[in-house]
Amino acid sequence: MQRNASKPWLGALSALAMLSATAAAAQDKITIGLLEDVSGDIALMGAPKLNGTLLAVEEINNSGGIMGRQIEIKHLDPQMDNARYQEFARRLIKRDKVDVLIGGITSASREAIRPIVNRSDVFYFYTNQYEGGVCDASMVSTGAVPEQQFSTLIPWMVEKFGKKVYIIAADYNFGQLSAVWTRDILGKLGGEVIGEEFIPLGVSQFGQTIQNIQKAKPDWIMTLNVGAAQDSFFEQAAAAKLDIPMGSSIKIMLGFEHKRFAPPALANMHAVANWFEEVDTPAATDFKKRWRAKFPDEKYINDMGYNAYVTVYMYKMLVEAAQSTAKEDLRKVIATGEACIEAPEGRICIDPKSQHTSHHMRLISVDDKHNVSVTKDFGLIEPYWLGEVGCDLTQHDPKEQYDPNNLPKK
């Protein structure tokens, strides 16, 4: 104690040495801050997200890392709690000084951390399909959006089944905004929403909802229910012989309901997705083989897990093209319009105006044995909507979320 006190400069010097050593180590590695829910109500969807990221990082590290630098993951589990999302996002950005932030499942969690990301200079990748419309230079969205999912699904459903639609949706921003999209697209096709029900998260009993639908007699149902509790709708509707076609932007490819419920609960469900495990192109088969080798117990390689995997490669491509991890340098690469990678679904690119991603979209249908087949292949679809309505992140950064009822002011 006394010896240290007599030579304070020695302590200071060693502290300085340690500091520079950690700085050098940080230089060596690229740190990904990862926020994925692997416990709680949506763990069954979040676990594959974590696995997708782990697989991509392992592959990249084994083949030399990003610009020769290894990747390190700092994963925290916010357990679908938005307050924890905010706390953990702050911790990863301020204390752990991560190079990039990835993750979030629900739109509520994304909107909870976006302001925190915006006050920092860390780039944020949201890897889920969602209700679309976020025009924010700090965020890249790598999942599918309504112009890729609804603008394809709804016209097909209208042509095949009819114009009268009943919507059941989870009562939070995703459900509400997706319902707005459905109404908007349906209106342009001369269809109509003849019934609409928003369900509080956590509700598991649907007797009344099923009867309301039977009374309304829609041609088909748009199912935007979220979370494991609300998924009970399918079992209860099937038991009550509610035999009406269903469409969705989130079922099958995210929560693999066709594997979790006994047939025929999900029969006659139709969804449009950029990924689902039943895709069988050579690139997809190869990807699934690598995934199953690392995670043999995975119940279903879902769209979220796939997007999480692809996102790490997207980040690698951006950093290597920019030769930097700084957000502004990465955005310069995106602005060229050449930010593309070869993903298992095919070649996909980040759109400079909206910083959303183009995707290869397929319409999948479930039969009464719960087999999934591709009913229609839409090919590559750009995330065009934000650019069309006036979001251009190469010019302005409004940091807003828009929807058909809330367009940017021209």
Partner: protein, 288 residues
């Protein structure tokens, strides 16, 4: 017209059954024994998972369901003997302990059993009234709810065990002085409560998603029904479930699930404000 009336009655029976079955076990553990059991949902989950595992092993559904209730009951007795019996008259500690157990169980199940299981499907059978079709299994649930309440009444009012249990809950010192083995009474009562929670899970297992945290979806309904019912569970639970069920069914039909849930919770606040001892306290005072 008949179809409309039948549909309203059917929905009421459905909500009533859910409230009664979710609350029955808690009515004994919380209502009678005074243990604020935050692990109630996990006893329900236990019933669900054992039932599903049983069916997957080839057991007939009713046998698997009985096994689910029995397993939850046995675990309840073991838990009472190891943890809960230290916590009588320590309500805050019992909240913490049972909450801890709940967290350990849900996370433990997530780690060992995985994030989801494949469902077993609701037993076949549906019937049609007017333009509506209904699942026959929902009638089984309603019948089970009525039978559970009847069995509880007979157990506590007509058997020797029932007399001893009520005596122990009312005045443990006096019961002990008269030769009642109160630790045994506590353990079996807790076991009965846990078994009823397990039975609730077993009955709803075919109709729901299977994830480790699914017990939580029963918790709110269970607690509000018991609180509205008041201390005397034999008199209180049924009228409480009827009042809450009627309010919820009417609002669900009129304005949808959000208003239904809000309305039910507002009704709970009003009842507690007007009748602090719950429905049973009010009924007892009126008869005195």
């Amino acid at each position: 017209m008949f179809a409309e009336i039948f549909s309203i009655l059917f929905q009421f029976a459905d909500v009533f059954a859910f409230l009664v079955l979710a609350a029955a076990g808690l009515a004994i553990i919380f209502g009678m024994m005074g243990i604020i059991n935050l692990a109630h949902g996990e006893f329900i989950t236990c019933g669900i998972y054992v039932t599903v595992a049983g069916v997957q092993q080839g057991l007939p559904l009713p046998v698997a369901q009985a096994l689910g209730a029995l397993t939850a009951g046995i675990i309840g007795v073991i838990l009472e003997r190891t943890v809960i019996h230290r916590l009588y008259n320590r309500p805050l500690d019992s909240i913490l302990a049972t909450w801890g157990i709940s967290l350990i169980v849900t996370q433990g199940m997530l780690v060992t059993l995985g994030s989801s299981w494949a469902g077993i499907g609701t037993p076949e059978g549906s019937f049609q009234v007017g333009e509506y079709t209904f699942s026959s299994y929902r009638l089984v649930l309603f019948a089970a709810a009525v039978l559970v309440m009847l069995a509880l009444y007979l157990l506590f009012m007509r058997t020797r065990y029932g007399v001893l249990a009520r005596a122990t809950m009312q005045n443990p010192q006096m019961a002990r002085a008269l030769g009642v083995r109160t630790p045994w009474i506590y353990a079996t009562s807790f076991g009965v409560g846990a078994a009823l929670a397990g039975l609730c899970g077993a009955l709803y297992a075919p109709t729901m998603t299977l994830i480790p945290t699914m017990g939580i979806t029963f918790i709110v309904e269970a607690f509000v029904t018991v609180v509205v019912g008041g201390a005397n569970v034999l008199i209180g639970t049924v009228p409480a479930a009827m009042v809450l069920g009627a309010i919820r069914t009417a609002l669900n039909a009129w304005q949808g699930q959000i208003i239904g849930q809000i309305g039910m919770l507002i009704a709970v606040i009003l009842v507690i404000r007007v009748l602090p001892e719950g429905v049973s306290g009010w009924l007892l005072r009126r008869n005195r």
